[in-house]
Amino acid sequence: MDSIVLIKQVPDTTEVQLDPKTGNLIREGLKSIINPDDAHALEAALTLKDRFGGKVTALSMGPMQAIDVITEALGMGADAGVLLTDRAFAGADTWATSFTLARAIQQVGSWDLVFCGRQAIDGDTAQIGPQVADWLGIPQAAYVFAIESVNPKHITVKRRLEDGYERLQCRLPALITVIGEMNTPRFPRVDRLLAGCREKAPIRVFNAADIGVKTREVGLEGSLTHVIKTFAPKFKREGKILEGGKESVVRELIQRLKASEGATACRAFASACEL
């Protein structure tokens, strides 16, 4: 059972800040990590390899520094790594990213499964997995938290729904997107990390020409959507003491909560899902 795992390097923080002057992200001082859901995807592929054998290849697209997530994947037990790096890839939306990744996957060779995390913490789109699956023309199982069985033709998984789960049998080859509930990623071994830093480490680095794409099809130029502005959400404590009788203060509180951006978090207002 050979797998390809898509991993993304993301800033390790939930406290990203914007430069008040330029509106750009302040990236200095931020550590980079494997996107958490992707680490779970990698763990899922490695667990499968531990049980059934096969080869795990970690694939990442990013700047040259993204080599670190590839090396880390080797440290965790991946057999090979591929880094897609090219200035032409920069600024891609999910359309251009999924196209580039799919072309690279086709370049890597034979595989039965593509694993990826449900979503990345810097973008939260959850679009790459299904889009890559569609470029490759294979079925997908999204939000997977357990693999029940695998045979040469099928994989049976449990995938999370809002109010429970679904047991799904999926034809191979297939793409699986993994959620954090699935496993606890192992820590990399230092000996494997060091081996991954050596020149003869099993890492390939591809640019646009290596995967046979035109620069206009990828990156910012190949993208269909564009960010036209970014801004910090307004975030100021209201500091308001509500006054009145018990019933009226609670009513006022609930009204304010309902009108706030926090309303979606509360089950009582929001996801009374179905009619």
Partner: protein, 395 residues
């Protein structure tokens, strides 16, 4: 798009060879030759002194999309019940449709779901595209994507909105890829740019620390998934609308996926780090019994219960639910502090919450300084009242 060399003009100076980032140029018999590896990046054009290299590239232009019209909403249903988010989207779609003077359409897939068409019309759809087939009974990615793709390609909508539910976020990327249009995920704000008449899609990124507004100028439909609970459903009881049925064919062998079983279950176990709502108690809760009502409030709101160090030391809640400097740091959307004085030790663990609500008898409690809304009063009276009103409002 290609790049080529006019051999007569080329003087074999090799500048292009050095400029090419991809090693895609060779000199053969004194002339430059472009290899298959060429990515048409254009680096060689800029350095060629002899002007011997040409490209048929043109600047990217915004195509004419005047034949794309209509604001579409995907009507998500499971087991014959509509997901509320699609009615919310219809409310927004009406607003967008009016701004553009275009009709609002719903796309309804399933088997034996035609009854739902009327609901969609009563919430704002001018037209319902209905596709019914046995293979569409339970959601599966490929048949749903096939059916929607066909509709989009025939009717060419201008805007297409889906709920950012599990289903919507599974399906929308497939459709976007098939149709060749951009897709913005999990939007919380949509509007029409008054000049360009394009859809402005605003969404949080980096876990909500940054908001980004995204436009989709180069493809249609302008497609977005929208976070449930953000838009407002607007009933239009007397509205009339048309139901347009579409035929659909598919074979099981194309689908590749079987749903073996669907299991409903309540999520168990608490995870403060993931919780969107946290109801926390401190010394003022008084006893373990007191935490029972906090638990009830948390259940109604779909959240978790936490406590201060005192609450843990008293044994009212387990240690893993302690929030503060010596406990966990949390940042939910809503943090309700009940009977919590708000000592620095506790505030350190919760002050990054999006909204903080404080209920405390002591009006001078420091917790009120970090709260968005405070209620001065006895939590044993206020919390049950909150439960009562919330239950009443969610019906």
């Amino acid at each position: 798009m290609i790049v080529w060399v006019e051999k007569d003009l080329c003087d074999g100076c090799r500048r292009c060879l050095k400029a090419c980032p991809y090693g895609a140029i060779e000199i053969k018999e004194g002339k430059a030759e472009i290899l298959d590896r060429c990515t048409a990046c254009g680096a060689c054009l800029e350095v060629c002194k002899a002007k011997a290299i040409f490209s048929d590239a043109e600047p990217k232009k915004i195509p004419d999309f005047s034949d794309h019209t209509g604001v579409w909403v995907f009507a998500e249903q499971r087991n014959g019940r509509l997901n509320r988010v699609c009615l919310e989207l219809l409310g927004k779609a009406r607003e967008l449709g009016e701004a553009l003077d275009q009709e609002v359409c719903a796309v309804l897939l399933g088997s034996r779901v035609s009854d739902l068409s009327q609901t969609l019309i009563r919430y704002g759809a001018d037209k319902v595209y209905l596709v019914q087939h046995k293979a569409l009974t339970h959601y599966r990615t490929i048949p749903y994507a096939d059916a929607v793709e066909a509709l989009v390609k025939i009717h060419k909508p201008n805007i297409f909105l889906l709920g950012a539910s599990h289903l919507g976020r599974d399906l929308a990327p497939r459709i976007s890829r098939r149709v060749g249009c951009g897709l913005t995920a999990d939007c919380t704000e949509l509007s029409i740019d008054p000049e360009e008449k394009i859809l402005l899609q605003t969404r949080p990124a980096f876990g909500g620390n940054v908001m980004a507004t995204i436009a989709n100028r180069y493809s249609r439909p302008q497609m977005a998934t929208v976070r449930p609970g953000v838009m407002v459903a607007v009933p239009t009881p007397d509205k009339k609308g048309a139901v347009v049925r579409h035929p659909f064919q598919i074979t099981e062998s194309r689908i590749g996926v079987k749903v073996l079983e669907t299991v409903r279950e309540k999520k168990t176990g608490s995870d403060l780090a993931e919780a969107k709502v946290i109801v926390a108690g401190g010394r003022g809760v008084g006893d373990a019994q007191g935490f029972q009502i906090l638990r009830e409030l948390a259940d109604v709101m779909g959240g978790e219960v936490a406590g201060t160090r005192v609450a843990v030391e008293e044994g009212w809640i387990p240690p893993e639910n302690q929030v503060g400097q010596t406990g966990k740091s949390v940042r939910p959307e809503i943090y309700i502090a009940c009977g919590v004085s708000g000592a620095i030790q506790h505030r350190a663990g919760m002050m990054h919450s999006r909204y903080i609500i404080a209920v405390n008898k002591d009006p001078r409690a420091p917790i009120f300084q970090v709260a968005d809304w405070g209620i001065v009063g006895d939590l044993h009276e206020i919390v049950p009242e909150m439960i009562r009103q919330l239950q009443a409002s969610s019906g």
